[in-house]
Amino acid sequence: MSTPQAMPLAEALAVVHQYRADAVVITTMGAAREWQTLEPHPKDLVYMPSSMGQGPPLGLGIAIAQPDQRVIVVNGDGCMLMNLGCLVTLAAQAPKNFTLVVVDNGVYEVTGGQATIGHPTKRADGQPLNFADLARAAGFTEVYEFDDAESFRFEHETLHEPGPVYIVLKTNHQTKDISARSPGPPAERIEDFRTSLQS
């Protein structure tokens, strides 16, 4: 079996970071860890500690409350699996200012790289779970998939299309340093974040 093409997580996030404009960016799990290596922005929410799967509804709430504010949630595939229902909630609300980016590497990276139940080795058909098809089935119409950073960079406008937008980024499983990186006390950070949304 050939190895499917995928991009380094850092390269994928660099594109989001470069083209976010004034968007709120909420990052979870492995993406949250990596996002902290990039230049911070007042509208960043490094969602750590998190409740796995709850990043998209958190972002949806902001998008509903502030319809002129673009909200980008960068979620892991493991997080998606913990709350697939949020796709249905998102499609029902259909916020035009919302983008859900799913970083799909097939593993729980921050706990050591154990395969998720969507990984080909765990599935009866031996095929990776198709996260794009899940979104389409839930009602998303703006669905994109990228397996290399240059293609994503070339199509970066997708981040800001009228939404809800759903972007799957196939990424490599990182095997080097994946140790926890603390973004600081959550209550203080979220108050700063809230203030940035009111200004």
Binding site: P49, S50, S51, M52, G53, Q54, G55, P57, L58, G59, L60, G61, I62, A63, I64, A65, Q66, Q69, N83, G85, C86, V88, T89, A92, Q93, P186, A187, I190, F193, R194, L197, Q198
Partner: protein
């Protein structure tokens, strides 16, 4: 306990902008009234864990949400509640229907009666318990108190048969 229009007018007086919910037999009786309430947006989710996070996002964006779920949803949504109300200390308020408290005829031996109050105690949240109609005014009073103090709060509302 609350008639539909009575519940809507209470929420409107409190300035609530969004009801994030999943209806049950009792709460669902407010559905039609909430849908036409001019100053309230009803946001339905698939599972209750979503409700706390979605309400948190609304609050961060400047809205005044309330979470409305059944006690079974409280059980399901513990991790999200822990994260939003304790890790991030966001002052989100929830109204939780207490299944079978007034009438367990349709679900004899309903374990909601065994676990709801201990679970709420475990989450260490400021809670008011409406056991009967006469206690209804305590909902608005408690909501205002929690809002003033910027703390999370729960109104546990007795329900009848499931």
């Amino acid at each position: 306990m609350f008639a539909p229009e009575e519940f809507v007018s209470t929420l409107t007086e409190l300035g609530i902008t969004h009801v994030v919910w999943i209806p049950d037999t009792t709460l669902g009786q407010w559905d039609a009234a909430l849908r036409v309430a001019p100053e309230i947006e009803l946001v339905q989710v698939c599972r209750e864990g979503e409700a706390w996070a979605l309400a948190a996002g609304l609050y961060l964006g400047g809205a005044k949400p309330i979470v409305v779920i059944q006690c079974t949803g409280l059980f399901e949504s513990g991790d999200s509640l822990r994260n939003i109300l304790h890790d991030y200390r966001l002052p989100i308020y929830g109204l939780i229907g207490y299944r079978s408290f007034l009438n367990a005829a349709s679900l004899p031996g309903d374990t909601c009666l065994k676990f709801t109050e201990p679970v709420l105690d475990a989450w260490a949240l400021d809670t008011v318990f409406l056991k009967d109609e006469s206690m209804k005014p305590q909902f608005a009073e408690h909501y205002r108190k929690c809002t003033e103090q910027q703390i999370p709060g729960i109104c546990l509302m007795a329900e009848g048969a499931a």
